[in-house]
């Protein structure tokens, strides 16, 4: 039986005793989590929204923060940097998500085939996922160092590379490097999720299709793809949400440079708030990001609802 059916039977059943005792039990179950979330997550979110409409002067001593209307938002949009930031954020998100999803699908299809040592390879796929961002950043910083880098040493040996390989100095190359590192860190997660879905497709489907004379490509198009499409869509939504807020991975490698080429919105918010003390503006940017995430979350939530999660 499909799990969704269980859920249907559980949830549509009118609860037999809806006494006071029962609602006390429910409260006991949810209250600790709700309290922690309220103090540490919900309240700060509302504070951010509030602060984005306030004026924050540079001197830390001033206690009053008068209402500023949309001044902070206008400042954000009026900034010459906004264009660079928006461009960096959008292109990073699009390229990174695209790369992760395509590579993730390709690797999942490859690892779904039978070969010697399959489970070992699947285990190794967890390594990028398990490596902490700080570690990943340090490894790539030294590995791509123009003088002492193992990777840059290998790359300079390639025939078409001329001169010293200074990847983090050029705007385009730094951006490309950060994108590739983002893809490397996250595509195994997608592969493993898709592999789990691929494993659930009965082999009979493929046997029947090959008897009917369907080639590899048509088998993928008419059997594999429809089966993994729901998970693919969810993964895509989640990846957009997770990638657009990328901070640590980029900040620890380039700090947003050179020339703000890698200054995605997460880095911009951090720098505005903690380096330049433009708190109001940072909060306004934060709210913009929040609105974007909200819209995407609603799409995601509705998708899940459609599939009968609740």
């Amino acid at each position: 039986m499909h799990p969704a059916l269980y859920r249907g039977t559980i949830l549509n059943k009118p609860s037999p005793l809806k006494s006071n005792r029962e609602s006390t039990t429910i409260l006991q179950f949810i209250l600790p989590a709700v309290i922690v979330l309220s103090i540490f997550v919900f309240i700060p979110i509302f504070q951010t929204i509030l602060m984005s409409f306030q004026q924050w002067s540079l001197s830390a001593s001033s206690k009053s923060h008068p209402f500023a209307g949309f001044k902070n938002y206008i400042a954000v949009f009026g900034l010459s940097q906004f264009k660079t930031m928006g461009y960096a954020t959008i292109s990073y998100t699009v390229l990174c998500v695209f790369g992760k999803m395509i590579l993730g699908l390709f690797v999942a299809l490859l690892l779904n085939k039978k070969f010697v040592g399959r489970s070992v390879v699947r285990g190794l796929m967890l390594i990028p996922w398990a490596m902490p961002s700080v570690v990943v950043c340090n490894v790539f910083l030294i590995a791509l160092d123009p003088n002492y880098g193992i990777l840059s040493g290998m790359i300079t040996k390639l025939p078409f590379v001329k001169g010293p390989f200074q990847v983090f100095n050029g705007t385009t190359s730094a951006f490309a490097a950060v994108t590739i590192i983002g893809i490397w860190k996250n595509f195994p997660f997608i592969s493993l999720m898709l592999l789990a879905a691929l494993g659930g497709i009965p082999q009979d489907y493929y046997d029947a299709a090959s008897i009917d004379g369907a080639g590899r490509f048509r088998q993928f198009l008419y059997i594999t793809w429809p089966q993994i499409k729901p998970i693919w869509n969810t993964l895509l939504t989640l990846q957009v949400l997770w990638t657009v807020k990328e901070f640590e991975l980029i900040y620890l490698i380039t700090k947003g440079g050179p020339d703000s080429a890698t200054g995605v919105i997460g880095i911009d918010i951090y720098l505005n708030a903690f380096r330049f003390y433009k708190v109001g503006m940072a909060c306004a940017e934060g709210v913009l990001l929040l609105v974007f995430c909200l819209i995407f979350s609603i799409i995601y939530f509705q998708n899940q609802n459609k599939e009968g999660a609740l």
Binding site: Y6, I26, F29, P32, V41, C293
Partner: protein
């Protein structure tokens, strides 16, 4: 003709697998490779993949060296370990109960609650960092490992609750109904039936929770200013001087930070994948 095509396809398959393995593993291998040198070796242009004179000197330096405040690897690992362990414990116990309630009970604000969790699970933490830091500074609670602990718990709670809902939804309800008829209370059902069934999932979720704090740089670096209270990711930065970076020591410490996590991930691999795909499916 046919067998030839088959072998050719087989060879291509293995070559592609090899390529994927190299791509996935190379940075990890590079990390270990650097950690087996001395910083002097790295600067004297020993930059092949295999170190010319492998040595464990960097590990010795990384573990034994102390920074200006007298704290070192020992202090930082201890801080990281117990902050992450307690944060994991809080996050797991609170989110398991909430996840169970969302999965099994019907109550008034269930949908909004679920939506809030789904949303907070995806919001960028950088958004809450600014007011959060201000609140903490106002209360004089920066440099408190206790606050960092609860922060990690709160940060992971939504994801964890979301994963638990996905997992509990797949446990058939019949078991619980039988227990209920036998007069078992809701908490009794939770502790005696649900928890024993969930041990593998709880360990997998705990691992993901643990790693969230273990690798965190953002919250720790804004809140922990005193070196004696640093966690390992902050400790890594102590080998970065303004003009001189002790790369070998950084890589040695990185390896020490990464290896336990990698082993746990591979050990719990099956549960992790089942769990995450259960969550993604909803």
């Amino acid at each position: 003709m046919k067998p030839f095509r088959k072998t050719a396809a087989g060879i291509i398959k293995y070559m592609l697998v090899l390529l994927v393995c190299i791509f996935v593993l190379l940075p990890f291998v590079i990390m270990i490779s650097y950690s087996l040198r001395t910083t002097q070796n790295i600067f004297s242009l020993d930059h092949g993949l295999i170190p010319r004179q492998p040595t464990l000197q960097a590990y010795k330096n990384a573990i034994q060296s102390y920074n200006f405040s007298g704290s070192g690897f020992g202090t930082w690992s201890w801080n990281s370990l117990w902050v992450c362990l307690i944060a994991t414990f809080i996050a797991i116990s609170f989110s398991a109960t909430m996840g169970y309630a969302i999965s099994r009970f019907s109550f008034k604000f269930k949908k909004p609650l679920w939506f809030m969790i789904a949303l907070t699970q995806t919001i960028p933490w950088i958004i809450i960092l600014i007011p959060y830091y201000m609140n903490i500074a106002k209360l004089g609670l920066t440099n408190s490992l206790g606050v960092l602990m609860v922060t990690y718990a709160a940060v992971f709670l939504p994801t964890s609750a979301w994963l638990f809902v996905g997992f509990f939804n797949n446990i058939p309800i019949e078991l619980e109904e039988a227990a209920k008829i036998d007069g078992c209370s809701q908490w009794g059902i939770f502790f005696r039936i649900i928890l024993p069934l969930s041990v593998p999932s709880i360990s997998a979720i705990s691992l993901v929770a643990f790693v969230t704090g273990w690798g965190d740089y953002l919250f720790a670096s804004t809140m922990m200013k005193r070196a004696a209270l640093w966690t390992l990711p902050l400790g890594l930065t102590s080998f970065r001087g303004e003009f001189f970076i002790q790369w070998a020591e950084i890589m040695a410490m990185s390896t020490l930070v990464t290896i336990p996590i990698v082993i746990l991930f591979i050990y719990l691999q099956r549960y992790l994948v089942d769990l995450m795909s259960g969550g993604v499916k909803g």
